[in-house]
Structures are given as structure tokens and as C-alpha cells.
């Protein structure tokens, strides 16, 4: 999910990464809406609100909404900084760091909300700011490593692309195009996962409250550990590579032939 970069990624890599991260974003967005009365994974609405608050001349709200948009932008900026600067040395680490930062942010929101939150406006705004930064990190990472094909924190572009693809499928030449079918599968998987995450957050909100951010963090840990597990498994199998040696008598000489292990 995380190791490969840009065009070397398979459809399966993108579907796995897109589904899990969209599920997390859906939960975070509805969680923030129910707990703080504001969205945290999409900024289109915040741009509209920013414009409305500018018109009304509400400086406080302008400052708050501006800072949220800025932090979403900054999250994406930081994410891609790690990807482009560390990718050459260790692509897995470069892709895992933004997710680790995101987990820290969401765990902080969960722990602070559960044990320290006094429901003041300033606290609400700081926690929302942290969530927008976390969503910026996630969206920046998935978009960056997938060559801009996986964006998981909002569904405007996804829904638009799905509409275009579904209209293209009215023509047979496009219906048989594997790349387009793969793209449609990816977008449907992202949309469905986001929706499932959002619905789950809605149902579990009363019982879990701020604990839902632990669940989201767990999903992100799965993304990180999945690749780490695969990397370690590969390394393990390489170390234990068994050499099968065939001995064959060829004209009085012994020919030794190595066979590749099953694992490789």
C-alpha cells in the first residue's frame, strides 16, 4: 500500500490504500461534525463559509476558518515534503511518516477530548484545527504517492469522475477499457468506504464519543503495519532462501544447478 510510488503502484495497491484511508476520513469528518459542529475533512464548504464571514465582517470567524483552511493546506504540504525528500532513501518510511503524524494528531484529539475537554470554544477550534491538519496530511500523502489518483478526504472530485466514467461506459469501446474499469472500481471503493466510515461514526458516536478517534488511529496503524509486515516477510524469506541443488553427471563432470526458492 505504502511502499510503491506513482506509476509503479498497482490498482490493488490504490484500492487498499484508498478504501482504508477513505474509511478513516469518513469517520473523522462525521465525528467532528457531531462533536464540534463543523466538518474537518473537506475544505470546499469552509471556503464558502470564509467568503460568507468576510461579507458579514466577522473577524473572529474569518480568522478561525482561514486558519483551518491554512492548516489543511499545510498538512498536504508537510506530507509531500516527506514524500519527495525521503523517498530516495527509504520510500516506506517517507510514506509512513505522514500517517504516523496523523495518528499522533487524532490520538491527541481522542485523549484530550476524553479526559480534558471543557467544551470551551478555543478548545473546540484547536481540536478542529488539528483534525484539519491531520486530514491535510492524509490527503496529501495518498494523492502524492498515487500520482493524484487517490484522494480520500472529500468526494467532490470522486463523484465528478464517477459521473464522467459512468457516462463513458455507455460506449462499448470504453466499457472494455481495463484502465477505465480499474479507475471506476477504485472510485467506487473510495466512495463506499468513506460512506461506511461516516455511517459507522454516526451510529457509534453516542457510545464511543471521543474514543472513535482511537478506532480511526487503529485503521491507520493497519495501513502502516500491513506494508511493514510484507517488508519483513520478504526479508525473512530471503534470509531463509533454500537452495535446491541438482547434481547431474555430464561427461564425467558434475554440474551443480541452483534453483530459485519457492518464495522468490
Amino acid at each position: 500500500m505504502l511502499r510503491k510510488y506513482s506509476n509503479s503502484r498497482s490498482l490493488s495497491d490504490n484500492i487498499k490504500l484508498g478504501s482504508l484511508s477513505a474509511f478513516a476520513a469518513g469517520m473523522v469528518n462525521i465525528g467532528s461534525l457531531l462533536l464540534f459542529f463543523s466538518f474537518s475533512s473537506n475544505v470546499t464548504g469552509h471556503y464558502a463559509i470564509l467568503a460568507a464571514e468576510i461579507v458579514k465582517g466577522n473577524y473572529y470567524q474569518i480568522a478561525v476558518v482561514f486558519s483551518w483552511i491554512f492548516l489543511f493546506f499545510f498538512g498536504s504540504f508537510v506530507s509531500n515534503m516527506f514524500v519527495i525528500h525521503i523517498n530516495q532513501r527509504n520510500s516506506y518510511l517517507a510514506h509512513a511518516i505522514p500517517l504516523i503524524l496523523e495518528i499522533f494528531c487524532l490520538m491527541f484529539v481522542g485523549i484530550y477530548g476524553e479526559y480534558f475537554y471543557k467544551e470551551t470554544l478555543v478548545e473546540t477550534e484547536y481540536l478542529l484545527a488539528l483534525m484539519l491538519f491531520a486530514m491535510g496530511l492524509q490527503n496529501g500523502l495518498t494523492a502524492s504517492i498515487s500520482n493524484f489518483s487517490v484522494k480520500t478526504t472529500h468526494l467532490t472530485g470522486t463523484t465528478t469522475d464517477l459521473g464522467i466514467l459512468f457516462s463513458m461506459f455507455t460506449k462499448k469501446e470504453y466499457r472494455n477499457n481495463e484502465a477505465l474499469i480499474g479507475k471506476a472500481k477504485l472510485l467506487v471503493a473510495i466512495t463506499a468506504s468513506y460512506l461506511i466510515g461516516a455511517i459507522l461514526a454516526g451510529f457509534t458516536y453516542v457510545g464511543l464519543s471521543f474514543k472513535m478517534f482511537y478506532l480511526v488511529s487503529l485503521v491507520l496503524v493497519v495501513i502502516i503495519v500491513y506494508d511493514l509486515y510484507k517488508l519483513r516477510l520478504k526479508l525473512y524469506l530471503r534470509n531463509r532462501k533454500l537452495l535446491k541443488i541438482n547434481l547431474e553427471n555430464v561427461n564425467g563432470y558434475v554440474r551443480i544447478e541452483k534453483e530459485k526458492s519457492i518464495a522468490s
Binding site: Y59, Y60, Q61, E119, T120, V122
Partner: protein, 152 residues
């Protein structure tokens, strides 16, 4: 100009803008503190003929009775927001203490009472002298009601 100077300049500009806006503004939690008197209740779907058939002095009283019948604020005429998160609702022969918080970007007033029952109101307008609350009501068919206050 070196690229990193441009980047530092860009982020400094963003942070400065935020600091400037915050310094020019007042926190809604501070503006709302104090005593407010109800001026008028309005409801987008009110049938003004009902105020004639029923015994009401004005449309506002009628709206308050119809729209607010299930709300904790129904009998209140003056609202006192205390800094400690307490809200005193007072009316004729009525007094109730509830909890208040402001959520979202400072646009949602949350009132909690009796074992964490919650009511939410949109803070449509909040200035030193005027407070306007909007809320969705389930009365008959769903509609939007507006409640206007002036500071005492």
C-alpha cells in the same frame, strides 16, 4: 531571491494575517456574557390568522407558544449567560439554571439541561447589543424559527 526565503515569507504572511484577524476580533464567548432580554419570536410558517382566533396579544407570543412548547427556553424572558458556563433562564414565576457552550466556529449555541439533554441554536448574529438565534423546529411541519434579544 532564494526559494526558502519566499517560503518563509509566505508562511509568515499567513500566520501574521491570522494573528491580525484574531487581535481585531472578540471571542463570541465573551460577547455573549451578560443579561439578554427576549424581544421577538418569529417563525417562517406562522399563520397569523391563528393569533386572532386564539387569545394572544401579538404574533410573537403565539409563535413562542407554538414553536417553543417543547424547548427548555419556552418560559424564559430573560437569559443571563455567566462566564462559568451557566445560563440562568428567567420568566414570570419561572427560573431555571442550565449549561451553555459555543461550538463550531462560534456559530452554534449548545444548551444542556437535566441529565445532558441538549438543544442547539444557530448564532446568526451576535454583537454587543443584539443577539439573534435561529433553530429548526419539529412543530407540525419542520420550519426555521428566529429569536431576537437585546442586551440589558
Amino acid at each position: 531571491m532564494k526559494i526558502w526565503i519566499r517560503y518563509i515569507g509566505f508562511f509568515t504572511l499567513g500566520i501574521s494575517l491570522f494573528v491580525l484577524l484574531i487581535s481585531m476580533s472578540n471571542n463570541p464567548e465573551h460577547i455573549i456574557e451578560g443579561q439578554w432580554k427576549e424581544l421577538v419570536w418569529e417563525y417562517e410558517k406562522v399563520d397569523k390568522n391563528d393569533t386572532i382566533t386564539n387569545d394572544y396579544d401579538n404574533v410573537s407570543d403565539f409563535v413562542k407558544d407554538v414553536v417553543g412548547e417543547n424547548l427548555v427556553i419556552h418560559k424564559a424572558e430573560s437569559w443571563t449567560f455567566k462566564p462559568n458556563g451557566k445560563l440562568i433562564l428567567k420568566g414570570s414565576n419561572y427560573s431555571k439554571e442550565v449549561n451553555w457552550t459555543i461550538k463550531g466556529r462560534g456559530n452554534i449555541l449548545e444548551i444542556k439541561y437535566d441529565n445532558n439533554n441538549c438543544e442547539h441554536y444557530s448564532l446568526t448574529e451576535l454583537s454587543e447589543n443584539k443577539l439573534v438565534l435561529n433553530f429548526d423546529t419539529d412543530t407540525h411541519t419542520r420550519g426555521i424559527a428566529r429569536l431576537t434579544f437585546e442586551k440589558i
